[in-house]
Amino acid sequence: MNPDNLVQTTGEWLRATGPESDVVVSTRIRLARNHAAYPFTNRASPHQKAEIEAIVREKVAQVDSDRPLHFINISKLGQLDRQFLVERQLISRELANAEGPRAVVVDDREAVSIMVNEEDHLRLQVMRSGLALDEAWQDIDSVDDRIEQVFDYAFSDEFGYLTACPTNVGTGMRASVMLHLPALVLTKQIEKVFRALQKINLVVRGLYGEGSRASGDFYQISNQVTLGKSESAALTEIREVNRQIIEYERQARTLIIKETRQAIQDRVARALGTLQSATMMTSEETMELLSSVRLGVNVGLVTGLPITLVNELFLHTQPAHLQKLMGTQLDGEERNAARARYLRTRLKEAGPNPN
């Protein structure tokens, strides 16, 4: 499959159709898996990595699946296409920038993806819209069952699924929930929430933007422990924490509407106005403004603008997406102009109104 086929769309997980979509963008579960008969990626020879890749191409990508699986050879992609796959969260930055034989297997809906020769031989990933940990687990558990028929997993009764980094050993499972928490940020409660999370061993990080920088008020919460705690116990823990954070965020939204309605109204209207009229727009500013607009839609301060479109704009205004959409390479300044133009056009089509 050619990444160009994905440009006009978003994965289903970004369409805001899942449970608690006003706060939760998506649920992701990853499983780290390695082949028992090969050294881990960092100690494997190029030849051995190529063999792993061949097993995936010839067997793993051919397992029964609800939707057809497509094999994408990453070492053959240019920098822009690799960046594009990172923005879509189909591959990690590490895999994009690595060297040697490596690949990703993706289904049509972008619900399932399998990174090949990342830190571990396989990183299976399932994405779902909204808070859907059980559904995501069922999906990935069944993908995992089918892959184990053709890929001999490194597993020991004592340590579980063996991984290159001891922080992943055991279940090899990392479940992450991506939340949009603008009201907790505005009311300055976000730090408090994070401190509480740290105590129960969950990891929080900012999403989008460069590196680990939080932008657009998106945060991702993941479990940290993979050894000595079953998948279901870890999922229960992360589900309960997320329920709480969702509750806090909703309370904060109610509070700001009740106590500072005019200020919020102004903030949202200005954000929307700027997005509809600016001629230069950086990635950071876009994130900030879209975040305010997303909040505005969710608390009823903006009508006529579907959340699906707002989510899509977050993705489509990322640098690689923008360049793919425009069909040409753009430098920083050109990108800012193209981004502003794209936002104006898309928002004009939708025709939202501040209330």
């Binding site: 028992a36 008969a37 050294p39 020991s156 730090e191 998948e231």
Partner: protein
């Protein structure tokens, strides 16, 4: 670049965002671990891991520093530096050094959860891994006859596993 909290070289670089204000942080591994910064991502988890390796393997350090995995050739000191294991055997090769780290990171040293459905409960079979590594060394040494012999062994073993 130097760590912002001590004179060591900075190895962890990230941006902390508090109330929409971004602060650049450049820390050494130890300081990053001590900070327990909540916005630390998975990447920095491994930085924390590296400092744990330093802190918790003290008593066995002498013994551990002499260890090398016979299968992948990883030295314990390399694991200590990079925080990554080299092959499935390393969980046995470096067990003494790993257990205190696992206890610290996971508060456990024993797997609970999914077990591959296909597999009989027994010790992990590493014979194919060893054969593949022998093959790699034979090819490197241009010992092609031996390489061919090992390739046959691998094929036999794989066929036996298929029909299992």
């Amino acid at each position: 670049m130097k760590c912002q909290l001590c004179p060591n070289p900075a190895t962890v670089h990230f941006t902390k965002v508090v109330n929409k204000k971004a602060t650049e942080l450049h820390l050494c591994t130890e300081c990053a671990a001590r900070q327990q910064i909540p916005s630390l991502g998975e990447l920095s988890l491994s930085a924390i891991l590296q400092s744990l390796i330093g802190q918790h393997v003290g008593p066995q350090a002498e013994e551990m520093s002499r260890l090398t995995c016979p299968t992948c050739g990883l030295k314990y000191m390399e694991f200590r530096r990079e925080g990554r294991l080299g092959c499935p055997r390393d969980y046995a090769s470096f067990r003494v050094g790993l257990e205190p780290i696992l206890r610290k990171v996971h508060r456990s040293t024993r797997h609970v959860g999914k077990v591959p459905r296909r597999r009989q409960p027994s010790e992990i079979d590493l014979s194919l891994l060893d054969l593949r590594q022998q093959l790699r060394r034979a090819v490197q040494a241009e010992a092609y006859e031996e390489a061919a012999r090992i390739r046959d062994q691998i094929r036999e073993k794989e066929a036996a596993n298929e029909s299992r």
